[in-house]
């Protein structure tokens, strides 16, 4: 077992654990954001650089700090390693810069993007982005293409995390989709515009951290924050049949995999479950899913919001620090 300290929290982990995994075991705000790493996809990670952290002490044996920031998702811990994430100004500054890089060519078309509300890039830029942009040049742009009849690709929004490529490679046989060209004109595409037709291709939509790959059966049907995510299942011969059904009223609007707190699906699901089973009668509903309080998706599901018992006249409206911290004046219950 290796001992590693991240932002002053110490934890013991197995040899071979990466810094990111160790941070996820600690949980909370010490977890670096990960836009390209996906624990269920081999070889993923190392590309987006949002998870860069500072290694202030290499190991107990060699306490020298590492000269550069390292990608926490691909760097294994050493015994006695000391890592700084949000306790390092350098890391925070660099993360801001990475977000800026990711956004300069991003269309910022959230108002018309299906991913809005559940987009990792949106969350990342709320947490680490700047208000204004220093980028004045023309953004690169691509045409929207269909890859298969169920998936649409908006290359403009892609951050080239390679997750969908690994998904196509590792989950499906006969991979026909990958990266063409290089540099900032590289694009996700299929080999000579062939359709991606595989029983598990729909998972590319779930792994995509942004709105580059979207579900055509759900396109423009609804905004995610109007929907209630429910755990649902059915017996399926191809996959586990355990999904999240996104419902409004008695209607099923879309089916996705069940995403955990780090935005990764628990299990990959098949295309039949995802695209074809849209009737309530197809599913056994287990109950509502837990959604992070911070997520806009939970915005719509506040069950009750206690009004402050007394409304003070404006001029006397002072709130004690304790009250303010505990929010006792304005309690929101989920």
């Amino acid at each position: 077992m290796f001992k590693v300290t991240i932002d002053n929290h110490t934890i013991e982990v197995e040899e071979g654990t990466t810094i990111l995994q160790a941070a996820r075991m600690i949980g909370g705000i010490v977890v670096p954001p990960a836009m390209c790493y996906y624990s269920k996809l081999k070889e993923s990670g190392g590309k987006c650089r949002t998870c860069l952290v500072k290694v202030a002490q290499g190991s107990a044996r060699d306490p020298r700090p590492l000269p550069k920031l390292v990608a926490s998702c691909r760097t294994p811990v050493a015994d006695g390693m000391v890592v700084q994430n949000i306790t390092s100004q350098e890391v925070i500054e660099t993360r801001k810069a990475i977000v800026e890089f990711l956004l300069i060519n991003h269309p910022l078309d959230c108002p018309v993007c299906d991913q809005a509300g559940e987009c990792d890039l949106q969350d990342l830029s709320y947490d680490n982005g700047k208000e204004e942009s220093r980028f004045e040049e023309a953004k690169r742009s691509f045409r929207v293409i269909d890859i298969g009849d169920k998936i649409q690709l908006h290359m403009n929004r892609c951050i080239l995390c390679y997750r969908c490529v690994y998904t196509a490679d590792q989950l499906t046989d006969k991979r026909s989709h990958g990266i063409l060209y290089r540099g900032d004109v590289s694009e996700i595409s299929t080999y000579i515009q062939t359709d991606v037709t595989n029983d598990f291709s729909g998972n590319m939509i779930d792994v995509c951290p942004v709105g580059a790959l979207t579900d055509k059966t759900f396109r423009f049907k609804n905004r995610v924050w109007f929907l209630n995510p429910m755990n649902a299942n059915r017996s399926c011969s191809k996959c586990s049949g355990k999904v999240t059904a996104w419902m409004r009223g008695g209607e099923v609007y879309r089916i996705t995999g069940r995403k955990d707190q780090f935005g990764e699906v628990e299990e990959f699901i098949c295309n039949e479950c995802r695209f074809e089973k849209k009737e309530l009668s197809d599913w056994t509903i287990e109950g509502p899913r837990n959604i992070k309080r911070a997520s806009v998706i939970s915005q719509n599901h506040y069950e009750k919001s206690k009004k402050p018992s007394v409304i003070l006249p404006l001029e006397n409206r002072t709130v004690s620090l304790d009250e303010f911290k505990n929010g006792s004046n304005n309690e929101i219950q989920l």
Binding site: G46, K47, R49, F101, R140, Y162, R182, D184
Partner: protein, 451 residues
């Protein structure tokens, strides 16, 4: 300061052929190594020689060899990195074109030392004609029993294959090269693991530059300590410098480490001074990615010492007032050269060559090119200069491979040493003799303003 190791016989007619090469003492080292030395002896001599990688980073070759995973029972590979694509560098091409057997000789000794039975030469895609030269040399070596099964009657087997790249600068990065050799997209791998442990086809692999390998023959023949008598301090041996730009005698020169930059620039034996009697303005001393230095700092260090061609002397002063030896591409600018235009040109190159895998390099290189293009075309704003500094600083050190650094350093150093020139371009774009703006008409300018 003008002893040579590599190019002693370069002028012998027909040195490209096996017969002539052999008659000048070629391949003696193979006999010596295979018959009189153990593999570890060879590694020991290379360590003693202090030979450092000639591809750019200058990492000690013997040390690199000793990292090779000895426990693995997978086959081992030696790869010769002949993907020489750094703008301003053309010394490996010269070696392979003129004296290919020197490389084959070095590779045989190195493969023997490393226990590799297969070697690859990864040749830059644009060097199509060199593939033929190398293959011919390899054919001759097979014919003469120096390659193939049971070399010179020993139990040693070795095959060398030439592989032509498809024209990507990034494939000069060793892990991208390995990916490309495996038939994949040339994206650098995320390290660790390093190639010495998990390299080509998952096997322990050493990747060395052409010039590095060409030195091995001499080291085996004469011994590591004899090699270490060449050069100064930790810069042992000699270095090929490819000189280009506004000089009288551009070309490839072998210098002994320790030669002063002044002599190299002005002596008739080497560059022969600045063309047309102009003044020296700046030098990029080690291939396009190293920091550019103005005339005063390339000739003398900030401390007032004479600057020499060696790893240490060129790096004297860090990036504030120094640079790097890099790959030895020596690019000279005279007083008329426009630093802004040149910097823009370099960013154009790095933007084009970025593999696009990691965000700082993919987005940052294009951004820098765009901003510099604007400045060069008379549409720059005062704040653009600091913006460039900031973009470069955020790329540097945050990328998967050194291409990000290589793209950031030229911009950062050009602004560090020639800030006034950038400001001048922003304020009075038309005053630059080279400025592209002077060649545009009003319509074109308006079109530029509208983007």
């Amino acid at each position: 300061m003008d002893r040579r190791i590599l190019l002693n016989n370069i002028a012998v007619p027909g040195i490209r052929t096996f017969e002539v090469f052999r008659s000048t003492g070629g391949y003696l080292s193979v006999m010596k190594a295979l018959k009189e030395m153990t593999p570890d002896d060879v590694i020991e001599e290379v360590k003693k020689s202090g030979l450092r990688g000639r591809g750019g980073a200058g990492f000690p070759a013997g040390m690199k060899w000793s990292f090779l995973d000895k426990k693995s029972n997978k086959p081992r590979y030696l790869i010769c990195n002949a993907d020489e694509s750094e703008p301003g560098t053309f010394k490996d091409r010269f070696l392979m074109e003129k004296i290919p057997h020197l490389l084959i000789e070095g590779m045989i000794c190195s493969c023997y030392a490393l226990g590799a039975e297969t070697g690859y030469i990864y040749v830059r895609g644009e060097f199509k004609y060199i593939v033929g030269i190398l293959n011919e040399a390899i054919r001759e070596a097979y014919q003469n029993g120096l390659l193939g099964k049971n070399i010179l009657g020993t139990s040693i087997n070795l095959d060398i294959h030439v592989h032509s790249g498809a024209g990507a600068y990034i494939c000069g990065e060793e892990t991208a090269l390995i990916e490309s050799l495996e038939g994949k997209r040339g994206n650098p791998r995320i390290k660790p693991p390093f190639p010495a442990v998990v390299g080509l086809y998952g096997s322990p692999t050493v990747v060395n530059n052409v010039e590095t390998l060409c030195n091995i023959g001499f080291i085996v023949n004469q011994g590591g300590s004899e090699f270490a008598r060449y050069g100064v301090g930790k810069s042992t041996g000699t270095k090929l410098i490819s000189a280009c730009g506004n000089i009288n005698n551009p070309g490839v020169y072998e210098i002994e480490f320790g030669l002063s930059v002044r002599e190299f620039l002005y002596s008739e034996k080497y560059c022969g001074g600045i063309k047309n009697g102009k003044e020296l303005k700046a030098v990029i001393a080690g291939g396009s990615s190293v920091p550019i230095l103005p005339a005063n700092l390339i000739l003398k260090t900030a401390a007032g010492e004479e600057r020499m061609l060696s790893y240490e002397s060129l790096a004297e002063g860090g990036f504030v007032s120094g640079t790097m030896l890099g790959s030895g591409g020596f690019i000279v600018f005279d007083e008329d050269a426009c630093i802004v235009r040149n910097t823009w040109n370099l960013t154009r190159f790095y933007h084009h060559e970025s593999c696009g895998q990691c965000s700082p390099c993919r987005e940052g290189t294009g951004w820098m090119e765009n901003v510099l293009h604007r400045i060069e075309n008379g549409l720059g704003k005062a704040r653009d200069i600091d913006l460039l500094v900031s973009i470069a600083a955020k790329i540097e050190g945050n990328t998967i491979c050194p291409l990000g650094d290589a793209a950031a350093w030229p911009v950062a150093s050009a602004i560090r040493h020639f800030r006034h020139e950038f400001e001048e371009h922003v304020l009075h774009p038309e005053s630059c003799k080279n400025s592209a703006i002077r060649q545009l008409d009003n319509v074109q300018i308006r079109r530029l303003e509208n983007v």
